[in-house]
Structure formats: structure tokens, C-alpha cells
Symmetry: C2
Subunit: 361 residues, 2 copies
């Protein structure tokens, strides 16, 4: 039985439970994990943040609960039909499709998005298994790895250096349909900005250092995070994250390494706890005398929030964040260009990655 069939079966169990309750003359209810920061806990084994034991009950006794169950029934029916004909749809399309569902019509997309998340939590499957896609773009990969992608037009084998242009290989939405055929990589470097990704590709960093270069495109899509996780766990490759030096970028790193509060039910599937932070570090601003901008009010607020975020509870982050608040400055990845276009690949990254033990001295 393929994973879609298993996901469908899990969905149908929800429907059965509602049906059984109704048959027994009970007003149906559904129990689901509470999704607040008070119900997030660190799982020692998987080293990621997941939902705790607190649950809340949604009952058809209330109008709101009854609406939720009606909508859930429609959505489950839609997913069942969609999987039968091997189709997929976006979260946005799902919202529009509900236009013809009478009283079950969603009032805004936030409601249908949330219901899909509820179904993820209830079934312990991911919306990708229901063939529900986001609008977000997958990112690109370039490096010494051969990938087999099962597309609806047949299987494609693509070597991410030899069979792609300089744009690289475009990560598809459902990364679980990829197979890693073979590779010569020593590590994976995930990069925030397109400019820096292009710099490493142009300078042949992937070839010289046997690196797989993954473009994060800012806050990474689920598919990108899932790919990093799979490269790390299945191929045993170290993953390093290279971003700008500001609090928003540290959060990008955290979402790769530890998962996010909003999708803590997926942390074990998406987070790569072994991922290490390369920089730009606040101490780099001093060490390399980097061109910088002043921190604005939002930056300062975000840095202070990081100081109380359990995901950043380490000496490294505390001292770096405090230094940054003292400096009052932030720098971008591309600020390294101050020392010429090759500095990042000839000096900065080799030095840092050797310090980190990723490259051998």
C-alpha cells in the first residue's frame, strides 16, 4: 500500500469515528493537540520541538464545532476523490473549491489552511500525502548528486551538475517522490540569498569542495526543509546554513534546524537538528570589518525575542546576540564582496568550515 493510501485510510478513520458516535446516539466530538507555545516540548530522542500531551476537544454541540465537522467531511471527501484520480491541488484551490459546498463553504483561506493542518495532526500524515500543495516555490539544488524523480510523465534521472543549467535542479513540491541514486558529496550548504547562491555556483564551490548547494530563498518552503532533512539522515551528510547576519536570518536557521511552532507536528519530518550555523555571525562583523547597517527597532525587538526563545538557548547564541545588540549593527552575506568576489569561497567559507570540522584542515 503506498503512502497516499495509508494517509487516506487514516482520514477515513476520522470519518468512521464521527459516524460511530452518531450511530450510538452521541453528539460527535474530536480530540486534537492544543497548538500553542505552552504545548511545545523538546523531544530528546529526535532533538526537535514537538507538540506535548495537552489536547482540546471540539464538539458538534457548539455551532462552531458542528461547522468544523461538516467542513472536515467535505474536505475528506474531496481528498478521497482527488487521490482516486491521482490529482493534486493547492491550498488556495481547495479554498475556492469550497465555493460550491453550501453551508460548508470556507469564509477565508486561513480557515481551510487550518483545517488541513488539523487533519495532519489527527492522522499523523502530511498534506503532501493528501496531494495538497502550497503556493510557495521549491528552491534549487546544484552539486554532485544524481536524483531520480517520479513525475506524472514518467521517471527522470537528473545529475544536479551534469544534467542541469546554471539555474540548477528545481526541487519539486513532494520531495518524498525523490530518490537519491548516487553522490560524491561531503556536505550540504544551504544558502539564504540568491546572490550568494549564484556566487558559489559561479566560483565552482560545489565542484572544488564536493558540496551540494541548496538555495533556501529566504524562509525555506517545506519541500526545501524536507530535502535537507533527507540529505542529512539518509545520506549522512552534514548540513550547514549560510545566511545574512540579522535576527530574521537566525530564524531561518532555526526553522531548518529545530522546526517552527506553527508546524511542530511536522518537526520530526522537517527539522534537521544536526544543521550547523555558518554565519554571517555578529562576531564576523567585527572580525572581518564588514560593511553593515544599523539595527532598526524591529531588529532589536527580534533579537531580544531570540534571547528568550528556547530554540536559541545556548552559550553560542546568547553571546552572539548580545554582541550584536552592543554593536547595533547587521551585515549581509554579500558584504563579504568588500574583499573581492572570490573572498567568500577562497577565504571565509574554507576557514569557517575547517573550524567547524566540516572541512579537514
Amino acid at each position: 500500500m503506498d503512502i497516499e493510501q495509508k494517509a487516506l485510510k487514516a482520514l477515513l478513520r476520522i470519518a468512521e469515528s464521527i459516524y460511530e458516535q452518531l450511530k450510538n446516539g452521541e453528539i460527535p466530538e474530536i480530540e486534537i493537540s492544543t497548538r500553542t507555545k505552552y504545548n511545545i516540548e523538546f523531544n530528546e530522542e529526535s532533538e526537535v520541538w514537538v507538540y506535548g500531551d495537552r489536547t482540546s476537544t471540539r464538539s458538534a454541540k457548539t455551532l462552531k464545532g458542528a461547522y468544523m465537522m461538516l467542513r472536515m467531511a467535505y474536505v475528506m471527501g474531496f481528498i478521497k476523490e482527488q487521490l482516486k484520480v491521482n490529482k493534486s491541488s493547492t491550498l488556495r484551490e481547495l479554498y475556492y473549491i469550497s465555493e460550491n459546498w453550501g453551508m460548508a463553504k470556507f469564509n477565508e483561506q486561513a480557515d481551510s489552511d487550518r483545517l488541513i493542518e488539523d487533519l495532519e495532526i489527527l492522522t499523523a500524515f502530511q498534506r503532501e500525502h493528501f496531494h495538497i500543495r502550497p503556493e510557495e516555490d521549491g528552491a534549487t539544488v546544484i552539486g554532485p548528486i544524481r536524483i531520480r524523480e517520479e513525475t506524472r510523465r514518467g521517471v527522470r534521472e537528473i545529475h544536479c551538475q551534469e544534467d542541469v543549467g546554471e539555474g540548477g535542479y528545481q526541487i519539486p513540491v513532494n520531495v518524498d517522490r525523490l530518490e537519491f541514486v548516487e553522490h560524491d558529496a561531503k556536505f550540504v550548504i544551504a544558502i539564504e540569498t540568491g546572490g550568494m547562491r549564484d556566487r558559489l555556483v559561479e566560483n565552482g564551490f560545489d565542484e572544488e569542495f564536493d558540496a551540494i548547494i541548496v538555495h533556501l530563498k529566504g524562509q525555506p518552503a517545506r519541500s526545501t526543509r524536507r530535502l535537507l532533512k533527507r540529505l542529512n539522515t539518509e545520506l549522512g551528510l552534514p548540513v550547514v546554513v549560510f545566511t545574512d547576519g540579522d535576527p530574521w536570518s537566525y530564524r531561518i536557521y532555526a526553522s531548518v534546524a529545530y522546526g517552527s511552532i506553527k508546524s511542530a507536528h511536522l518537526s520530526e519530518y522537517l527539522a534537521t537538528p544536526a544543521a550547523k550555523f555558518v554565519g554571517i555571525r555578529p562576531s564576523d562583523i567585527v572580525k572581518y570589518n564588514l560593511p553593515s547597517d544599523k539595527l532598526n527597532e524591529q531588529d532589536v525587538k527580534a533579537l531580544n525575542a531570540i534571547l528568550t526563545d528556547p530554540r536559541f538557548d545556548s552559550d553560542f547564541w546568547r553571546s552572539e546576540v548580545k554582541l550584536q545588540l552592543d554593536l547595533g549593527k547587521k551585515s549581509e552575506q554579500q558584504a563579504l564582496a568588500k574583499y573581492g568576489l572570490d573572498y567568500v569561497t577562497d577565504v571565509y567559507l574554507p576557514e569557517r568550515l575547517t573550524e567547524m570540522g566540516i572541512l579537514k584542515a
Copy 2:
């Protein structure tokens, strides 16, 4: 002589002119097209909007003019070195590189970006020929066409259906390095949103209708517009543009078809005047009873601006925009999902493209 060498030669002519003026004991000056909407005119022959005859003179008599020439000299020197070693850099990197130029250092990136545009206008070449890249992403292509890309790792031949995953072929920054090897396409459809692009790919629209699907990703990057232009002029393929039904999307269409005021010096290189607008049209909101949102204040303002924009001076646009102002509504591409996931490819697009003469009845 390849195009980079020609571009470099044109750059050096600017330097020579400054040098000659200095040698003759004159205070050097540079004459350049005035870049305002009062100096935009329609070129009947190429059917795009270009700069007119008005020029302004920048002289080293003023401090501002002298700074500009100093910076220009540094930038030209940098580009010369970069082309010599076959490197490229982003606009952002160029700004940071100027850190070490003493008095020629740029104060903000807007200044260095503008200077590169000045060099484009003065030389009649494009920054791509100087190997200056934007941060923006190129988009993706899927369809029955085989492309040959000259990369710095050798030549790659890629069929945009058979050799790519569902993510498609990633358009590189310098589209002029692509060669179209062969194709079976009847037309090109450029699509604003990723959700709709994925819908057409999933439904096999490119295979059924022999279409090349290009994802615009919102306001399209130069490389995407250049690719559309080349597909239209070199292969003689009709280009149609499929967007959301709001004024921002009509501007996306206009930038593909007519060029933009900011880069009117590149219109002949980037604009595809033959490109036709598929929709979503305001009249579609009525015709298909599409789910819609209310126009907000900005939307209304933008629609009124379109009524006085010379690029939209046609009966079609006047009546559609007036209808939209009357309706007070806008709709998204994905609103067609109201009628099911296949409606757009089974009904909407075939009907519209037949009306437009792109598909034969």
C-alpha cells in the same frame, strides 16, 4: 568578437571621451537621455515604448557630476577586470565592492544601480553583457522545446519536458547564452502565479496543446521577459499572458508586452508587443460568476492610473477597466477552481484561446 567584448569596447569609448576632454583642457561632460515619462515615445517600427530625443548633460563642473564620473571610472575599471577573468557579479555585490574605492564609494545601492543603468543607456548594451546580474530569480519553463545552454561547466542540452522534473527548467540569468535547438510548440503561455503554473503542468496542458509554459513569478525578471521575446521573434511563436484579474496583474502583462518606463532603453530587447492578454478579465468575473474580493483603495487608484497610461490606450482595456471599476471586484486565476480542478484546462483556456485565434476551432 563576442558581445561582451563589444560591450567593453563601448564602455571604453566613454572613458576615452572623458580623457580626450581632459586632454583638451575642457571640463569633461557626458550627455545622456532624460529618463522621465515626458521623454517616452512609441516607436512605430518596433511597437514598443522607448526614450525620446531629450538629453541632459552631466558635467564635472558640479561636485555631483564630478563624483558621478569618478564612480563611473571605477565601475568601468571593475567591469573590465571582471570580463577579463570571465566572472560576473550581482548589483548588490558591486555596491559592496565600492567599499574600498575611497571617495568613489557609493552611499547606497540605488546609486550604483542607477549608474549601471546609465552605462546601459550610454553604450546601448545591457548590464548582462557587462556580467552584472540582478538578485531576482529567473523563472521556470516546461514544454516541447530543446534548449542548449552554454554554462561555465560546458554545454548542456535540455529538453524541457523529457529532461526535467515537474519543477521544470530553470531560466538562467543571461538568456542570450541559450540556443533553441528544436521544438514542437504552437504557442507560449506565460503565467503569473505558481499555483496556476502547477495546475497546467499537472493537467498536462503543455502536452495536450503543444504549449510552452513559462512561469512569470509575479512581476517578471528581465531574463524571463527576454526569453519570451526570443521565443516570439526567433521561433515565431504567439505569446499569451495569463494573470490574476487586478490592476497589478495588468501591469505585469504591460511590462511583458510594452516594456516599462524605468527600463525603456531596453524595451526593444525585452518587450514582446505581439503578446496577448488571456485574462482573468473583469468581464470574466461576470461571465463565469467567479469568486471575488472587493477592490481596495489602492486597486481603484491603480485602475484609474491605467485609464491614463498610454500603454493601455485601447477600446478593450478602457471597457474592461471601466467595467471593473463598476463591479468593484477583482478575481484570482485560481478562482476558476470553483468549477473543479480541470475547468481551467478543459473549458476556460481552450474557449478563450480559440476566440483569440491561438487554437484552431
